[in-house]
Structure formats: structure tokens, C-alpha cells
Amino acid sequence: MSDKVYIAGLGAICAIGNTADECLASLKKGQDGIGEPSYLRTAHAGEIPVAEVKLSNTQLAEMTDMPSGTSRTALLSIVATKAAIQDAGLDLSTLRIGLISANTVGGMDKSEDFFADFMANEQAGDLAMVRHHECGSVTELVADQLGIKNYVTTISTACSSSANAIAHAARLIKAGMLEAAVAGGTDALTRFTLNGFNTLMILDRQRCQPFDENRRGLNLGEGAGYVLLVSEKTAATLTKQPYAQLSGYANANDAYHQTASSPEGTGSYLSMSNALERAGLQPKDISYINLHGTGTNNNDQSEATAIQRLFHPHFPPVSSTKSFTGHTLGASGGIEAVFSVLAIANGLVFPNLRLQEPMEGFDFSPERELLTGKQLNHVLSNSFGFGGNCTSLLFSKVS
């Protein structure tokens, strides 16, 4: 049993790039991916901007050798998981490898089309469109494509889902149950989620401004983000140095309200401080926080309060990359894990776009510009969700 788990590969697809490299280029250029939907069919088009992946289902299906009717959630996941595996350059056939994937609404992008027909007539609607409705079905489609059988599971804890998937994978590796794991999450834009968040009146009609005093809400996004985690022993067989170590993780619950975060940020404070404790680090050791930073009034206030309490007076640079990608829900923890690791590997702190007036009452504010040439030793990534689920991941430079 070894306590060390390393990040050996990265894979991401979202509104700012179809690969991790493309995402990095957009993050450096300060170029967001938020705008009018091209593929999501919704009555709210033109009124509510979204952060869509810039590929059609047909293009994604061609890239992944999947039938064109496959759920977009699965297609995005296949693109990013394959990229993570390829990036690590590992021969998986000799390893005990798992797939720990997260999503929030499974194949809902297809089910919601099916349901319109089904509502009119219970015998109507193409069953192929609901065959992979379940969250676990999406993961299974991906596992079959990757040929992963040893341990395959799906986690769904709303917007903290994929951060929990990464932490769970690390624990399976530490326990000796796996030697490597592809872990992260995926979610496609659906009318179901867009309308759901719209009823909560937390969708920004413009491009979002996380941690701004005058923030108006979040932009929904889509994508998939995965890391390839390996044990210390497997890391020693890699042809290249691992990107980073997953040095800490913690899962806590805010236990305040089904959807709202507590004003004190109890859950986020606990997840951040417990992740630090697991890694044996102090707040002053943290080089950058990739915020949950959705841009909603409630989340940002709560998260900022927790950061103020935990980090004062040693505030590291912070930013929300959701200002680029929108909130990708079950994928966000995975995508932001990839970004956090890229930050360490490239010595970068990504900007928090469109920040005009920092939130009042706090002694820190997000970075407006890209910071380069930084030595980032420890990066914290936050993911908080409905149901009070709060998870923080801590990535450290390999010493």
C-alpha cells in the first residue's frame, strides 16, 4: 500500500477546446467559449448564452467511431478519456485499471427528445433513445470503448460529481484495488438542465462574471474532463514524468439547504481545510485556488467567506475558469482538475475573465490577467453542488 497517487495523463473537451492543449491555448489567450447555442435546441436560444462544445454530434461520433445516435454525454466522455490514456502513453493491457466516471443527467439529451413522443403516446418514441438514459449506462458505453473491465463505476453528486470520482479513484489505488484509473466526469447541455437552472433564476443573460460584486448568475456549459491516475509503482514505469501528485482530497456536506449554500460556507470551508490536512499542508502553502466560482450570488458569497476564513492573511491567487467554460456541472471537477494540473505544469495562474468590481467585504480578489512564470507547488480545486456536496482536490508539484 502506497500513499502516493500521481496524475499521468490529461484529457479535456469543453467550449474552449477539443483537447487539453487547445483548452490551455484559450486559457492563455483569455478566450472564453460562451455564446449562442449551435446544437442545443431550446426555446431559450438567443436569450440565455451557453458554453457549448464546438462540434456536432455527427462530428463527435465520427471522432469516436460511435453510432451517430449516441448520447452526447457519452461521446464527450469518450473523447476526453481516450485523450487522457493516450497522453500518459501507458500500456493498459498489463495494468489493473478502472474507470471512475461522473455525470449528472446521463443520456438525458436523448431521453428528453424521446419523452416528447412518449408523452403523446406511451407506445411511441424510439427506444434506442432511452436505452442509455441511466448515468451508469453512459459510463458503461465509455468503458466498453476503452476496454476497461476491472472496476467501473459512476458517481453523481450534482456539481461536485467528478471531483468525487477523482478522489474515489485515488482511494481505490491507495487501497491496492487498482494500479491505475481514468477518473473525471462528463455532461452535455440539455434542455432539462438549462430549464432547471433557469427556474432557479440563476442563469446569467450575459457572459458570467464570477466573484464580481455585480455578478448575475452562471452560464451553463458542457464537456468532459479526465485525469489518468496511477499508483507510485506504476508511475515509476512511465516514459515521462507525471504532471503532478494528487496530494489531498476531501468531501464534506454543507447540510444547509437542498440547493443553496450556507452564508458561512461551512461545507466549502470543511472540504478545503480537510484536503489541506490530508496533505499535511497549511493555507500559506497553497499557490493557487481554482474556484468553484459559478457566478451566482449565493455560491460566490459562500465560497469567498470560506476562503476568507481559512486563508486570511495568506491569500493565494484565485480564479474561476468557469468564466471561460461555463459551469459544466458533472464535468466541472474533471475539467478543472485538468486545468489545475496544467497550471502547475506550465507555471500559470489563469485569469478570471470580466472581473470589473471585486466582491465587497473580502481581503482578496481573483486575478484579472494571466500570471506566467510562477512556481506553483500546490493547487486547490473546488467543486460544490446541490445537496450541499462539497469536494476539494489538492494537486502538488512532483518533487
Partner: protein, 352 residues
């Protein structure tokens, strides 16, 4: 990894909740859709809150609170749930509204409660529990994955007492859709003769089962959960036999050491033929006891199966309506579940 089951609570199609005698009267059904028998929730939940809750939330929260109460635990160190389908009722309500009203003038309530972690979250909220909280949603392994996570937490030393549960609800919509996949029987059904008169399809079920697992033994434990293993899509009956034998062997046991096997037959002639193939070669008829005629078939029915196994060991008796006739003492009980002949799980229970 080993855990002690402090308590168990289940709401199913049988009188499993608040029962005085273990399955004293088994209810037979003449329908392919078995509905959970729900208790009067007012004793367990805030009456105002009950009105807003879907059935899955009510069943889950009630059994969770009952399990905690039985175990004498106010605050578990972790809450882990497994659900294959999640909150279908609220998902359906929101979908119907969204489609019917062309995405206009929708209420957020159903959406808020539609996420798969709603039950786990509601338990945390109810207990004001800030500790570890996770939800597994992997088809026929959802509950097993939650159980493995719970046992991992105990082994890591991060938790001493974990609340773990399985919940799934069946709705009119989900039953209608699953029916179109030819999952369920279409002709006459009698759950009393589910295995003796095999035909195509199974019977649908739903329910909730929660447990408090402890890392250390205590007075009043129901039993010990010695090991759990899952395997996906086995190649053959021989492959399953080999896996069962290896699983038992790792615990220094053979098939003959098992007093009772709760076996996941479901009345579908295709599945049951395969189950018979691997089970009959390893165990004799007296060891084998099927359970899905009680609860129906659904992806997290291994939850109620674990409830039954734990209660049988605690009571040292098999309910008289079940087919197995075994001699006491009952020391070792094995649960072999299969879902769609793809998702297999093995759970080994020991009397304490």
C-alpha cells in the same frame, strides 16, 4: 475489509418495515409490478416536508433514520447511497412540464429534487451531518459500489460508523418504458410460483434499504459483512462458479460451509436457467433460497437482500414462507445476486 452490521431498515413490497416477526406473512402478488408498502411517514418526517417529497426521498430518509435509531447513532461518520435510476418521479414531473409548457413558466421544485444525490443530501440536511457524503449510480452495481466505498472508509480509518443504503423507485412512466424493453412478464403472474413456472420476463420492484456499518463489533450487531465482490459480464456459468469458489476460498471457506445462500433468481426463464447452471453445481437445494419473489427485480434489490440476510442471521431462522429449510445454528450466509445476468455480486455474512 470487514464490517459489522449494526442495524438494517427496509421498505419493500413485503412488510419489512417495523416488522415484529421476520416476514411472518409473505405477501404474494398477481401482478408484474410490485409496489413498496409505505409506512405512515408522520412518525419519521416533518409533516410539512412530507408533502414536497417524492416517494424515493420519503422511503430513503425514513429507512435511513430508522437504521440510525436502531443503531443508536445520532451522527454517522459518512453517508453513502446507491441508486440506479435516481429520483424518477421528480425527473418525470419536470420533463412533462418542460415539454408540455414549451419550456415556459416552470416551477423549480421538481428539478431541485431530481438530482441523484437528493436522498443522501436530504439525510445530511435532516441530521445536519457535515461529514463525507457520496452517491453511486452505476446500474446493477449502484448499491454494491456504495457498500465497497463504505467498507473502504472503515478500512482507511476515516470513519467508524457509516450509513449506507440502496434506493430506487418505480414510476408509471419508468414502468411503461421498461416494459417496452420486454423486461417484465406480460401474462398471468403469481409470485408464489415465480420459479416453478418459469416464463419470459421478470417482475418489477422498488424499495429502500439502509444499514449502519461499524468498523468494530458491538453488542446487538445483526451480523458481520466479511467480504464483498462484484464482477461484470461473466463468460460462462463455469466462470461464475470459479469466481464464487475463489471468493469463498479467500475467506478459507468452501461451498459446503455456507448454511444459506440467498440467490438472485428472478423468474425470467433465461436468467434463471443460467443461475441454476452455476448454483446447482456448487450448492444443494437445501442451501439455496431465492428472494426476488418478495421484493421484485430492480438494480438495487441487493439492498433488501442484505437486509434479509442480516435479519436471518440475527433471528437464527429462515422465514417459514421461504423455500430453504436449514438447520440452525446459521453461521455463514452468502448472497449471490445477478442483475440481467451481467451484474454479479457476492456478499458473505457471518453470525456474531
Amino acid at each position: 475489509m470487514k464490517a459489522y452490521i449494526r442495524s438494517a431498515s427496509a421498505i419493500t413490497a413485503q412488510n419489512t418495515f417495523e416488522q415484529e416477526q421476520l416476514l411472518n406473512e409473505i405477501i404474494n402478488y398477481e401482478t408484474a409490478r410490485l409496489k413498496a408498502i409505505e409506512p405512515d411517514y408522520k412518525q419519521y418526517l416533518d409533516p410539512k416536508a412530507i408533502r414536497r417529497m417524492s416517494r424515493i426521498v420519503k422511503m430513503g430518509l425514513t429507512t435511513a433514520k430508522d437504521a440510525l435509531q436502531q443503531a443508536g447513532v445520532d451522527q454517522p461518520d459518512a453517508i453513502v447511497t446507491g441508486t440506479a435510476y435516481g429520483c424518477l418521479e421528480d425527473t418525470g414531473v419536470f420533463l412533462r412540464g418542460m415539454i408540455g409548457q414549451q419550456e415556459q413558466d416552470l416551477s423549480p421544485t421538481a428539478f431541485i429534487q431530481s438530482t441523484h444525490n437528493t436522498v443522501g443530501a436530504q439525510i445530511a440536511l435532516n441530521l445536519k451531518c457535515h461529514r463525507y457524503n457520496n452517491t453511486f449510480v452505476h446500474k446493477g452495481f449502484s448499491f454494491e459500489n456504495a457498500l465497497i466505498d463504505a467498507m473502504l472508509l472503515l478500512a482507511e480509518g476515516d470513519a467508524q460508523q457509516v450509513l449506507v443504503g440502496a434506493i430506487d423507485e418505480l414510476t408509471d412512466d419508468s414502468f411503461a418504458i421498461l416494459n417496452r424493453f420486454d423486461l417484465y412478464k406480460t401474462g398471468d403472474v403469481n409470485t408464489a410460483t415465480l420459479y416453478t413456472e418459469p416464463s419470459a420476463g421478470t417482475i418489477a420492484g422498488e424499495g429502500s434499504a439502509f444499514f449502519v456499518l461499524d468498523s468494530a463489533p458491538k453488542n446487538g450487531d445483526l451480523c458481520a459483512l466479511g467480504a464483498i465482490e462484484i464482477f461484470y459480464n461473466p463468460e460462462s456459468a463455469a466462470d461464475v462458479q470459479q469466481k464464487i469458489t475463489a471468493f469463498l476460498s479467500a475467506q478459507s471457506l468452501t461451498a459446503g460451509d455456507i448454511n444459506l445462500v440467498l440467490i438472485g433468481k428472478n423468474g425470467d426463464e433465461k436468467t434463471d436457467q443460467f443461475v441454476d447452471q452455476f448454483a446447482n453445481g456448487l450448492f444443494n437445494d437445501l442451501q439455496l433460497c431465492a428472494f426476488k419473489h418478495l421484493f421484485g427485480e430492480y438494480p438495487t434489490v441487493s439492498g433488501p437482500a442484505l437486509w434479509l440476510g442480516a435479519e436471518v442471521l440475527k433471528n437464527q431462522a429462515v422465514p417459514k414462507g421461504l423455500t430453504a429449510s436449514v438447520n440452525t445454528p446459521l453461521n455463514k450466509l452468502l448472497i449471490i445476486n445477478q442483475y440481467k445476468n451481467k451484474y454479479f455480486s457476492l456478499m458473505l455474512l457471518s453470525a456474531v
